[in-house]
């Protein structure tokens, strides 16, 4: 059983306005799973349903193979988009309280607090009140409080918004290490670069519906344009002549020192291998690659047409 979380045909609406429509998805153990979508798409509603803050109108949520129950929340860590701490509590008391309501015993909580405070080198802050901390320091505490009980599944809603760049890097590194340790991470974000960098798979939600799900490369492949990029040194006319009728130049970038990067569309039955054959001997090829869209492009391509349709 590799699936840790399975959402089946979940529907949720608020006062007749749908927030999620017939949504299904699977999150595999040990992966970093991205939840993407424009504002108001239903990402936070989905996350709140997984955290049992909301209950779905219909459909089911299965955790580790079984229908999810309250006790499963002890195996989930959650860092919401709108996050905060008790301002007049000490850092240690706060961590202890949040660890206890996540099901840890007092002695276990103490061991975990010692471990994480050592790991983030924040032992000096133990007795400080949260109101005395800087925003960056508070962000570290928030993250620690979400992972303190070592959850099987960590859910992060917009984890990089509001965090300073140093903390963003720190958290990315922690997430990678957690994945290596077999933990599953689900993150909802607008930051497509982060999705591309750290996610294994992702789902794209728009206007309460799932519009795509798959590995990052699958999502990119589905939206790829079929263009091939070639970087070479030599004569541009010789290059164009060599292409003959199999390929058409779509775009070119002059790099200097008689070097060019050209984007080619493929015609008819021509293949990647054909291109290499026709060019060899005419120009000095530095690199050839199949052009893939960035996740930013994937996002825009999938969301934009739907919006245009709606506007019509």
């Amino acid at each position: 059983m590799n699936t840790i979380l399975e959402i089946r045909n979940v529907n949720k609406s608020f006062y007749q306005k749908p927030a999620l429509t017939n949504l299904s998805l699977k999150v595999q153990k040990g992966e970093i799973f991205g939840v993407m979508g424009p504002n108001g798409a239903g990402k936070t509603t989905l996350i709140r349903i997984i955290n049992r803050i909301f209950s779905p109108d219909s459909g089911s949520v299965r955790f580790d193979g079984d229908l999810m129950v309250d006790r499963d929340l002890y195996h989930i860590g959650y860092l919401p988009e709108e996050r905060g701490l008790y301002r007049n509590m000490t850092v240690e008391a706060q961590a202890m309280f949040l660890a206890r309501i996540r099901g840890l015993s007092k002695s276990d909580a103490k061991v975990k607090i010692d471990y994480w405070f050592d790991r983030f080198d924040i032992n000096d802050w133990r007795k400080k009140r949260v109101e005395e901390l800087s925003k960056g320091m508070a962000q570290k505490i928030q993250f620690i409080c979400a992972v303190l009980h070592e959850p099987k599944l960590l859910i992060l809603d917009e984890p990089f918004s509001g965090f300073d760049p140093v903390n963003v890097e720190l958290i990315k590194q922690e997430l990678s290490e957690m994945r290596a340790a077999g933990k599953t991470i689900m993150l909802s974000t607008h930051n497509m670069k982060s999705v591309e960098e750290i996610c294994d798979r992702a789902v794209l939600i728009d206007q309460s519906r799932k519009i795509a799900e798959g590995s990052i490369s699958e999502l990119q492949d589905a939206q790829k344009s079929g263009l091939i990029a070639v970087r070479f040194q030599g004569n541009m006319i010789a290059f164009v002549n060599a292409l003959w009728t199999g390929f058409v130049v779509e775009d070119k970038i002059i790099l200097g020192d008689n070097r060019f990067e050209v984007h080619l569309a493929v015609r008819g039955e021509s293949s990647f291998d054909d291109l290499l054959k026709v060019l060899m001997g005419h120009v000095k090829i530095e690199a050839v690659w199949e052009m893939r869209p960035s996740m930013q492009d994937v996002f825009i391509q999938l969301v934009q047409p739907k919006k245009e349709e709606d506007e019509k």
Binding site: R48, N51, I53, P80, R83, Y86, I101, C145
Partner: protein, 445 residues
Amino acid sequence: MKNSWLIAVREWRERVSSRSFIMLSVIGPLIVLGMVYVMFALGGQSKQHWNVLIADPGGIMNNKIMPQIDNSVTYAFADGYIEVDEFRDAKKYQKFDALLEVNEKVLSNKTGFVFYREKPSVRMQTRVHYQFERRLEEIVVKEFTKMSLSKFRSIKQPINVTFADVNDPEDEANDLSGWAGFFFGTLIFLFIFLFGMTVLRSVSREKSNRIVEVLLASVSPFQLMRGKIMGIGMSAFLQFVIWISIIGAGLYFMRENIFPDVMDASNINIEQLTLDANDASYQESYYAAREYNEFVNLVYERVEFGTILGFFILFFIGGYLFYSSIFAAIGATMGSESDGQQFVIPIVIVLCLSLYAGYYVMNNPETQMATFLHYFPFTAPVVVMVKLSQGYEVGHAYEIYVAFFVLIVSAFISLLIAARLYKNGILQFGHRLRIKHLFKWLKST
């Protein structure tokens, strides 16, 4: 329940370690003790001084009234008649506080009239009455008997007639008892108000600092609300115990060390006082004791603290649950920490009305309205305290249990309604709370 308990303990710790809790724990009971002290102390040491003009056209009193100087009253005599209007307006009489009119038939009709500018204290009235009466006794003894004054006074025994209610022959339900109940009712009001507002602030703060979503991922909204109400209620209870301990210790200390003579009715020996009537300082303590003995008696003897405290705790719990769930619901539905005042004010007004209801029932215990207020959950906690100290009629003690049952059922319903509003409102931010929101969230499952 474990999660609610963890939340309750956190709330309790936060409250108990706050400066305002510690201040209120010390200052509150000290203010109450200070008020009791002032009531006792001022009674014995009143410095009110009166200038009394005695109009004695018949010369009956022979320009004499007291053999020794009384520091509280100075008498002057006038020979002729003085009209009340003249006394009131004439410049030469302005230095006098009162006019004692001694008519020529006073020895037969035994009546004097005192016209005052400002109403004197009961003590002053008693004093003037007493001194006038004693001077007339001297005259009567001299005019109509052959016995000595001391012999006359040893024979003279006042006949007291006490009017008593057949249902309450011990007069346990007099006004002062009602006031004691009203004091406890005010205490309940104060605690519900202070700690109800604490619930509201705590909920809205949790919402505005956004920790609430982290909590809701581990506990249900109902568990969160229940824990919060429990924790703050526990701190209120602790505060109450501190208040009662300090006030109890303070009253004991006062009785044993500061006012041992005034506090004990057995210290007053009327016969001895009669013989030593000329001793002004002794009279002073006699008057003080006579006036304040009732209050002392009330505080130390008549109020059944055990019973009242027992029911105080029950009705405080019921009233607190009832009101704090309303406060919690308002806190949860507010769009920001400063929002929602328009919904807080009506609740505070209702709470204040409950205080007035207590006052009303104290003065009109037998009316239908009083019966209604006794069972009405918004007013019951205060009103029951007043009724309890006034005493229930024989065979009607069950009424207090019925009131408690109604209050607990109402608190339960209030909790259910509040839980729904809490659940649907707690994750709504940035709006301006309107009545339509409340209806919408109430209807939503």
